[in-house]
């Protein structure tokens, strides 16, 4: 992995811990939406009776996916498709590679075959909400991002899940679990990923945005653009409750899961930033790809893995993804990927 050349100034900044010009004070460093997440975690760990109705959770996640897609879509129509192909190809390949590369690592950490494959799939796929938070941070810092970034999210959702499933098939094929193997139907898996809620709504939003264009989307911006960040805040409150619940159930393999959840993201995130650099993205773009790479899916992945690799214990992957990695990225990871992207960009 090529280490970016850093100027003296940048090196100084590194020592004084993140760019002091951009992230000047503790208060502005933490995006307001992150406080909602923390409130949720505190509520759960404090055994509050606060419970967001499941219908609200579902409604908000549908909203976020559609809104992210729409935003990217209005810009997408202006892009020459050919120019996007290398990006898409590289991101798909990256997402696909992650589970393959992580599998031996997890096996070394004594996770069984199914769990190693499933964990890899979670990290190979991406977290839409983490994407929303990094976007919101970049907007606050006035760092522009490629306007079609939502497309990256859409294409990075599935490859990691497919690769994770392949690894599991290959690994378990020789040594099946206790129950009789259910035939994996690949067409079924492909269908479920493509028509799964996340990809369908992201892609649907992208297409609607592209078809309707800025003028068409204008009258619905009061729902899909203006309130986006506030809705994200409420969703993070709910995710805080979920993450808090996972932290409460940490048991035997707690140490392993915390280590994975904290150490993997910076590594994957660094790879992502460098990939962004290789694709000649903007600073914001590099930070976004870094964040996507570092994020672990917890909407599409758990559902997909339950179907494709039922032998894996969902508690393990979910705890790592939403109990550890998600908060880590919110609090530490995202500022770091942004900082790193700025360093890497310095000529």
């Amino acid at each position: 992995m090529q280490v970016p050349a850093t100027s003296a100034a940048a090196r100084v900044r590194l020592e004084c811990n993140f760019d002091p010009e951009v992230l000047h004070s503790k208060r502005t460093m933490v995006d307001v939406v992150v406080w909602f997440f923390i409130l949720g975690v505190v509520a759960k760990i404090g055994k509050s009776d606060l419970r967001l109705p499941e219908a609200l959770y579902e409604s908000l996640s549908i909203y976020l996916l559609l809104a992210i897609g729409l935003k990217g879509g209005t810009e997408l129509s202006r892009q020459p498709v050919a120019a996007l192909l290398p990006q898409v190809g590289a991101l798909v390949a990256f997402g696909f590679a992650v589970p393959l590369l992580l599998y031996p690592l997890f096996r070394t950490l004594r996770f069984d075959k199914a769990n190693s494959a499933s964990l890899g799939a979670h990290y190979g796929s991406v977290s839409v909400v983490t994407f929303a938070v990094v976007s919101s941070q970049l907007a606050r810092l006035a760092l522009p991002v490629e306007s079609h970034a939502a497309l990256w999210v859409a294409v990075m959702e599935a490859p990691g899940l497919i690769a994770g499933t392949l690894v599991a098939r290959w690994a378990l094929g020789a040594n099946p679990g206790p129950g009789p193997r259910t035939q994996l139907r690949w067409t079924q898996l492909a269908h479920d990923l493509l028509f799964g809620k996340s990809v369908l709504l992201l892609a649907g939003g992208l297409l609607i945005g592209a078809f309707a264009g800025d003028a068409g989307v204008g009258p619905i911006k009061a729902v899909f653009v203006t309130p986006f960040k506030g809705v994200l805040a409420i969703f993070l409150l709910e995710l805080g409750l979920v993450a808090g619940a996972r932290l409460l159930t940490l048991r035997g393999d707690a140490v392993k899961l915390i280590l994975i959840g904290v150490l993997l993201p910076p590594v994957l995130g660094t790879c992502g930033v460098l990939l962004g650099q290789a694709l000649q993205l903007t600073v914001g773009g590099m930070a976004v790809v870094g964040t996507l790479a570092a994020s672990a899916s917890y909407i599409a992945a758990p559902v997909a893995m339950r179907q494709a690799v039922p032998e894996a214990d969902p508690a393990i992957s979910i705890t790592a993804a939403i109990g550890v990695t998600f908060p880590f990225n919110l609090l530490v990871g995202i500022p770091f990927y942004i900082w790193l992207a700025q360093q890497v960009h310095s000529p």
Binding site: L52, Y57, G179, V242, A245, E311
Partner: protein, 101 residues
């Protein structure tokens, strides 16, 4: 008084991911219908609050003949019991229209 006919009620409480596979299984096994609703609960595999996708549970009810109930239950056991939270029980019930179930 209208006559009553004995049937079996099979109740399956499990992860929401199994809703589709189990109702398909039931149809293939010969059940004429089914009823589902969302539940929360706790068991061997820990608490399931049902507050988000991967944490949702369902309760599935099937009224059918004893043979069909056995068939569904044993297939569900072999296919899913090893990897999924799964609670099943049978109860004796009576219906008025035996051909309907």
């Amino acid at each position: 008084m209208t006559e009553k006919f004995p049937k079996k009620l099979l109740v399956i409480i499990t992860e929401a991911a199994l809703e589709k596979p189990l109702t398909e299984l039931a149809r293939r096994a010969g059940a004429h219908g089914h009823t589902v609703h969302d539940v929360r609960g706790a068991g061997q595999y820990g608490e399931r609050e049902g507050s988000w996708e991967a944490d949702r549970s369902i309760e599935l009810k099937i009224v059918c003949s004893e043979a069909v109930a056995n068939q569904i239950a044993s297939e569900a056991m072999t296919r899913f019991a090893a990897n999924f939270g799964l609670t099943m029980f049978f109860a004796d019930v009576e219906v008025l229209r035996p051909d309907k179930y």
